[in-house]
Amino acid sequence: MNLIVISLLVLGITGIVAAVLLYLIAQKFKVEEDPRIDQVQEVLPGANCGGCGQAGCRAFAEACTKASSLDGLLCPVGGAPTMEKVGAILGLAAVAGEPKVAVVRCNGSCDARPRTSEYNGAHSCAIMHSMYVGESGCAFGCLGCGDCVAACAFDALHINPETGLPEVDEEKCTSCGKCVKACPRHIIELRYKGTDGQRMVVKCMNQDKGPVAKKNCANACIGCGLCAKVCPQEAITVTNNVAYIDYAKCVVCRECEPQCPTGALWGMGFPERLTKAAKTAAPTAQATPAAEGGDEKFDPAIAAQIQALKTPKAVFPHCLHNA
């Protein structure tokens, strides 16, 4: 009995002494922090994507709290509603930013770009880019290993097995810009979404001269400048053999679109596409290897998936149907 009492007393007293010590030390070394940082962090999405240019959501919250105006501070993931909440907490006026979206500026689909070699190395665009030109002859186009897909924290990017190119799910894209950094060829650009999500884009980055570019990809911009000639707003410039549309000047009249001889110029977000590219980009009737193999036990879709799993991923990074 005595033993129990002594142990309880010793432990109890040690506990109380430790608690008092801890309290005193905590008081002594207390860090005064603006309580609003926590509040701001609370309303942020917490994705820590770095799309705002800060190290993470906490850093962004600190930057907002310190700032005298919210101009230039934007959480691309949360967008305007989040910034309004942040503004309300800090008593600052939220500056409305126009929403952006990631745009893949390459239309070198499998059927447009002849495959000149087969890549057999590590499954990464960055490594492939450091090694050589890629599986097609285009030194500027998409490599198709999906570094951007791996970088996307919002599941907004997927490689389309038909074209071998990444496609952006505009609903999910938060324009955090991670894919832009991940792409070794700098193909992905954050562009303003535009009114009703409609905008004009040149889907090509090829700086080679026309004939070379055309040889390597049927959908390449050959820098002919026809689009620039017809543009009433002078929004299109051709530099280094490739056209670029200035969003600020473009009024989405779509005059340029039918002019493009190769289908590099795209109107995005319109109900239907008018260009040649629409025809080539439409799903072709090429059969998947599994369907050709005729494994009849499975549904063709499942069989294709099985085949994809069986195929070593490092061998055929570019197009599934070329395997």
Partner: protein, 446 residues
Amino acid sequence: MNTFKKGGIHPKDNKIYSAHQPIVECGLPKQAIIPLAQHIGAPAKPIVQKGDKVKVGQLIAEAGGFVSANVHSGVSGVVNKIDATTDAWGLRMPAIFIDVEGDEWVEEIDRSSDVIRECNLEPKEIIDRIAKAGIVGLGGACFPTHVKLCPPPGQKAEVLIVNGVECEPYLTCDHQLMLEHGEEIMIGIQIVMRALGINRAVIGIEKNKPDAIARMQELAQKTLGVEVKALKLKYPQGGEKQLIDACINRQVASGALPISVGAVVDNVATIYAIYEAVQKHKPLFSRVMTVTGKQVAKPGNYLVRFGTPLTQVVELAGGVPEGTGKIIGGGPMMGRAMNNIDMPAHKRTSGLLFLPEEESRRGIEENCIRCGKCVSACPMGLEPYLLSRQSELQMWSEMEDHHVMDCIECGCCQFTCPSHRPLLDYVRQGKATVGGILRARAAAKK
């Protein structure tokens, strides 16, 4: 018998195909395409214009910076244009296109086959001639030689190490060069010793080249201060730091240059080029390259002028063999697969290797089983499995802490990996990224 201590592997050397094949001169092309960036550092600046007449050995592009090298014409003719051409990997590179007319050499080049032994030049003059001749390290890195021969202030060279190892499987061009031009190489060694103000040189040769060892030993006996070391067979013995370890038993610290232990390393092909430049006034516009492979009809060692399309050399060797899966520029270990053999020969092209389809495929990548084979194979004492994983996860600062910059990209780790993991691919990627970060940091400090 000596070798380096840490790591290393023993791939089959496969040198029988082209070994002892006499050096054959490859003919002149119809149009020579001479790239401006044939070396590490800044590309050269062209000094000729369209329509200019050039002779063999004429300077056509000047060094574009301190770490850069002059480029000379390998042919005589008229400059057609200065434009981009496609390199071995399908990328565009600037080059000078010359339509070949005849074979007219610059007068001052001594074209006789006499061996000139006398050299009474001052060290500065020698280095000047080497710089003018555009000589770069022909072992593979293509680092401008004149930069190497000017040690940074406070450091002094004590010994010249000559790399006759040729540890890459398949390649035999250095071996053949030693057999055919041993005497010239020996004079070249004395010239470099004179330029550095030293009296000791060690030639390292692997023991799979007994005739080259015997030949060089015979010549070395007549030469003061030169010694031949026969080395055990092990890859990557031709790496600078490994060769210093094997030849003179000194270890270069992490991040340090060979000069920190008093060594200067040069390849035999470079030494031969130095001999030709100093004694014969012949700038670097040709080199010996090996064309080889199991199924190649006439594997051999070919002397090519820079600017000659590689297809022409391949034709001499009997064309691209049937069933070729991969064409590698250089040796199988450090060389890179090419996707364009129309490209011209230049200072970097040490060999062309045709691998049959069944040998060219990588194994299917599996998970790391932590066997540690890569760690014991790494000649630099790194942990490739860890570095490659860190690179995959983009942990750049951790890679820096684990000395990724010491990696010599020899590929021992990937060769030895039982899971066929692309270790080197990732480590190389990490090294490039960390290198960029370090350069940015150094620039920010300034």
